[in-house]
Symmetry: none
Subunit: 210 residues, 4 copies
Amino acid sequence: MTKEEVLKEYRVREILEAARRVIGKFGFEGTTIDRVADEARIAKGTIYLYFPNGKDELLHSAVVEGLRDLTAELRRSDDPSQTPIARLASMVRAMFTIQRNHQDFFKALILDSRFVAFEPGDARETELRNVYIEALECVADLLRVAIADRAIRPIEPQLAAVTLFEMMTAPLRRSLLGLAGAPTDADAEAVMELFLYGVRDARPSGNGNA
Amino acid sequence: MTKEEVLKEYRVREILEAARRVIGKFGFEGTTIDRVADEARIAKGTIYLYFPNGKDELLHSAVVEGLRDLTAELRRSDDPSQTPIARLASMVRAMFTIQRNHQDFFKALILDSRFVAFEPGDARETELRNVYIEALECVADLLRVAIADRAIRPIEPQLAAVTLFEMMTAPLRRSLLGLAGAPTDADAEAVMELFLYGVRDARPSGNGNA
Amino acid sequence: MTKEEVLKEYRVREILEAARRVIGKFGFEGTTIDRVADEARIAKGTIYLYFPNGKDELLHSAVVEGLRDLTAELRRSDDPSQTPIARLASMVRAMFTIQRNHQDFFKALILDSRFVAFEPGDARETELRNVYIEALECVADLLRVAIADRAIRPIEPQLAAVTLFEMMTAPLRRSLLGLAGAPTDADAEAVMELFLYGVRDARPSGNGNA
Amino acid sequence: MTKEEVLKEYRVREILEAARRVIGKFGFEGTTIDRVADEARIAKGTIYLYFPNGKDELLHSAVVEGLRDLTAELRRSDDPSQTPIARLASMVRAMFTIQRNHQDFFKALILDSRFVAFEPGDARETELRNVYIEALECVADLLRVAIADRAIRPIEPQLAAVTLFEMMTAPLRRSLLGLAGAPTDADAEAVMELFLYGVRDARPSGNGNA
DNA sequence: GATGAATGAGCGTTCATTCAT
DNA sequence: AATGAATGAACGCTCATTCAT
């Protein structure tokens, strides 16, 4: 990689980080090129050197990078020597940690983003899809292992993974509604337990109607 | 109710429906007063006769009405003579039906909305919260009954309700990612089963590691 | 005059009075048809029955009527049996009284009005001119008498009349600038004295340089 | 001063001059951002670079600048080595000159401005007041000197100054009413004489009734 | 005649984008 | 490469005017 490329990558990263902070502070709708430039301490025009396609591209990249970080973190937190269930629990905890660390950005990402809002066929839609799927597959792969291991039922792994992702937003949503404080580790455990066992009462004396 | 009030309510409804269609087509960010007026086949200024506080109020009302419709539908679908579990299943199916009927709007609502984006203390934030909570409580109440009935475990009903709400977006999200077709009744069943039983393998020979 | 005409004149008067109150409260720029209609307790559309040419015509008429009232008041206050100087003093006092009675309206009229803002040739410009001149001539005629009477110098009566009119706004302007309280009778006397004697020191020991 | 500051000041001046021309042509109510931008041959948005607070700020600045120019001109025209009366006469002549040079603008300023139209407490109201008072004080100070010098009577200098200001608008008003041509030097002399001596006939044979 | 709901031109303002320096 | 002044399309909103009832 040439010196120029290194510099370029550094600049791109700086801009994207600034964009994430701005998104966190002002939401997607409140994110303007001016604010990102200010946050990155560069001139507005400079952004167009690194993101020639403008704002859409920049926001897209910021979201993609956020999801990639998420994926990377999920992978880093994984310890294949553990049982599948323990690994799943680790992943859930890891996602909660990331949510907490980049809280404002993920809050915006979850509540405010148009996730898949590009024109059908737009290359960016594909990329966004792929990076989301990649995060998903971390979990789905683990589910496949767990299924093979008979640790969990033979359900559709991808649907279960999406479901788990959505479940993890529940404590955040509840917090935003003022129904609870910020998500805690206890919430991570609660979500994990719901995901594993559901709500059904398994006690022998349980009411067996369905 | 006087004739004027009837007419006014009719107009308000027409505008809100137009707004919902526009939100569905263009997302929240792409929703402009011009587009709503065009969609409602009225002049731009007319909107301000019925929504004097402008766009924010209009979007807020559209979202609130959407959630109210949801709540109403949940209540209508409920048959208290059934077992709690059967009633829960009905609710899940009802929500899927609504999602299907107003698919684009709910897609925007779920993926794009700033749900709680008003200034803290804004009366609208409170209303939005309340109407969301009302929908939530339909489910939470049912969960309380089910718990009393020992049909489900003594979990925190409100968290479980939020979680169920989030879970129900999973098939929609999956569909939007191109990983599956539009949500079906089968998806409703799958979500219901996950919610009830979780993913854990309950077979006697199951691998019990945790 | 037919019954219809009487009614019409009554309505016109009501609307004009409402307009004057609104102008007083909100200034010319803040005067809208809606506000005038509200103030007159009639429907917006009704105004167009009596002022088919719309807002410009209405404001024009309100100003004209205000000036006519002023003229009428000046005439009513005049007592031809007095000396010209006493009659002038009465007129100045009368103008201050009117200013006080319709303070807000005249404040707007003096400070805010486009007095002669119509297209050249517009019939309304002519009318406005004429009604203003009519008020002016009340004073100018008196000045002519005074000149004939050798009570005042043989100056150009019309210019002197305009000047007196402008001088009378000085206490109001001073008040609006916060440099003094609302115009008082003492201000009327001071203006009158300045108009009669100027500022020059007439004392024998006075410094005679010019 | 850096090059940027010079350029900025130049632009601000250009915009303000354009604004003054537009105000002169269309009056305050007819002054739109579009027209000012057109007149200044810049894009509408550019105005907001130099007047971030928008139209109110722009109009305010235009008026303030106009009054400052007036004050500066009054000071420039003053020659302290002359007698107070001669200095007063110079000031009156100077004001007429300025009126002539920026005729349309001052016409609007005099006839159309809401001079003190901001919310009470608004910093701009204070500034406007102050700049007006500053112009006033040029004259009031001179009047104080003249009083000390016994050239004029011991009248209230500030009221006399406001009165003189108002008197100077008389020829302009007369002209606008079509009662005379544009103000001339002769009008300046006439105003000056009225201000000094009033209208009273001082001839020995004069009619002394009051 | 009286109404007021409906209209849409026109306003002030924002902000993504361009380009001369 | 980096800048930020300049641009102008597009937005939310107001309000004088019209017209069906």
